[in-house]
């Protein structure tokens, strides 16, 4: 019998990259105007994935897609319990009005990081809408938040930890579940 404490790696690298390309096509299908789309990676797991998604989407739209980042740390609801977060840059330039902001994260779980990220984006302006794309949805939601685009649903135990690794281009190459 396998050691229950060992980490497991799922799924295969090819499958991950294909799933992430499918997400790009789904975003393009839902939002025909590529000029209105801004991909915003959530610090820090979502930033490399947003870059990679931006390149794929640029190819689909035939025009460059805006990519930015957002730091949710200052808007978190658990600052008192967990101590202060390390802060990384928020890069959102230009007017957000009439724009489709697609938040990008590697792993979606409780939804609290997404909630904080939505507030952080709102401090910059009022986009036409905010969507959510994640590579992995591992469940255990604590807030009424639902992703619009999902690479892979991954059933996990609440006390497990899910880690996504990307290569230099931001292509997802491994997902590891740790105890």
């Amino acid at each position: 019998m396998a050691d229950p404490n060992a980490s497991r790696t799922v799924p295969e690298a090819d499958a991950l990259a294909r799933a992430w390309r499918r997400v790009a096509h789904e975003i393009a299908e839902a939002h025909a105007d590529g000029g209105a789309v801004i991909l915003v990676g959530i610090q820090r797991g979502g930033v490399a994935l947003a870059q990679h998604l931006g390149e794929t989407l640029g190819g689909i739209y035939g025009q460059a897609v805006a990519v930015g980042s957002v730091e949710p740390g200052l808007h978190r609801d658990d600052l008192s319990q967990r101590g202060m977060a390390e802060l990384r840059p928020t890069e959102l330039t230009g007017d957000l009005a009439n724009k489709v902001v697609v938040l990008i994260d590697d792993v979606l779980s409780t939804g609290r990081t997404v909630r904080a990220s939505i507030d952080a984006v709102m401090a910059f302006g009022r986009p036409q809408c905010i969507r959510l794309a994640v590579l992995i949805d591992r469940g255990h939601r604590e807030l009424p938040i639902r992703p619009d685009f999902v690479g892979k649903n991954l059933p996990t135990h609440p006390d497990e930890h899910v880690e996504v690794r990307t290569d230099n281009s931001g292509t997802p190459i491994a997902v590891t579940i740790k105890k």
Binding site: E71, H75, L79, M84, E86, L87, R88, D119, A123, G125
Partner: protein, 310 residues
């Protein structure tokens, strides 16, 4: 990220890693200050007390704005309007402030060590906003933040601090921060105000201004602290200006891109020629702007610190 402290009492006890954490955090808060909406909810529901037992306008206002931009509630409690004149002790006053459920107490006091004293018995976080001639940690942090922003890093830079070193808490905190981050520090001023003992802090001490300025990357000018010294430390303001005031001719000794800094309030025509204060070499107003970012970082970090460390 390296920060677990409950208080910010001095620079002397901080490590280079802790200093860098504050500077990196401040960089993100500076970006917040440049946005249309300059407020974040990080300290929402927290209460900060500005407990100033010595007059100060700019530091108090800077802390006030910093706390507000973090969504904390802040009240100002200053000595002239307080119970000290009625005979209450510092300890009792601080306890009274804490009984208001203050989460962070920012203290300015004329006695060195007052913040350390409060930190021993208060549950609240304590931030030193200047204690006597001892330390002024947030001023040093905003100074090194400004230098790092302009020069890229601190290590290897030649920094000259000019003026009243003996009575200056700004000088002491700056020397600690600069030395920990690897800068070469030169001190210069009248010998009565720049004792040789500062060489023990790893500084070069010289009474020749031209020598002090040669090759400098940064010149930090300190105000003569009239309120802290006796009249006999140097003959006259006029003589001080002639011997140690920074002017264009003397500035030529420094590197061509040397920064001119001043913690304020400055005395034009004494420690600095008026035209230089307004030149593009001076970063005096940027220091003020950076002060808010650095103080936001300090309030944010100490609020998260819960270790038993002081």
């Amino acid at each position: 990220m390296s920060w677990h402290r409950k208080h910010l009492l001095d620079i002397e006890s901080l490590s280079a890693e802790e200093l860098t954490t504050v500077l990196d955090t401040a960089r993100e808060f500076k970006a917040v200050g440049e946005r249309d909406i300059k407020k974040v909810p990080a300290l929402q529901g927290k209460t900060v007390v500005n407990f100033f037992v010595e007059p100060s306008t700019r530091t108090r206002v800077s802390f006030e704005l910093s706390a507000k931009r973090l969504s904390a509630d802040i009240i100002n409690f200053s000595a002239d309007a307080s119970s000290f004149q009625k005979g209450e002790s510092l300890k009792d006053t601080a306890r009274t402030l804490e009984a208001l459920n203050a989460d962070i107490i920012v203290i300015r006091h004329k006695a060195a060590g007052a913040p350390h004293f409060l930190a021993r018995f208060l549950n609240a976080h304590v931030v030193n906003a200047g204690d006597g001639a001892h330390e002024h940690p947030t001023q040093a942090l905003l100074d090194v933040f400004t230098i790092r922003e302009k020069k890229g890093n601190i290590a290897g830079l030649n920094v000259t601090i000019l003026g009243d070193i003996l009575f200056s808490r700004v000088a002491r905190s700056n020397i600690w921060a600069l030395r920990k981050l690897g800068a070469n520090v030169t001190l210069c001023g009248p010998s009565t105000l720049v004792p040789r003992v500062f060489e023990q802090m790893g500084c070069r001490v010289t009474y020749d201004l031209d020598e002090a300025l040669t090759g400098a990357d940064v010149i930090n000018l300190l105000r003569i602290q009239h309120e802290r010294q006796r009249k006999t430390m140097f003959p006259s303001i006029g003589e001080y200006a002639r011997l140690f005031g920074l002017n264009r001719a003397r500035l030529a000794k420094a590197k061509p891109d040397a920064l001119i800094m001043h913690p304020g309030p400055m005395n034009r025509g004494v420690e600095i020629e008026s035209g230089l204060a307004d030149s593009d070499r001076a970063v005096i107003l940027e220091q003020v702007t950076n002060g808010i970012a650095v103080r936001m970082a300090v309030l944010y970090l100490v609020n998260g610190g819960n270790a038993e460390e002081l």
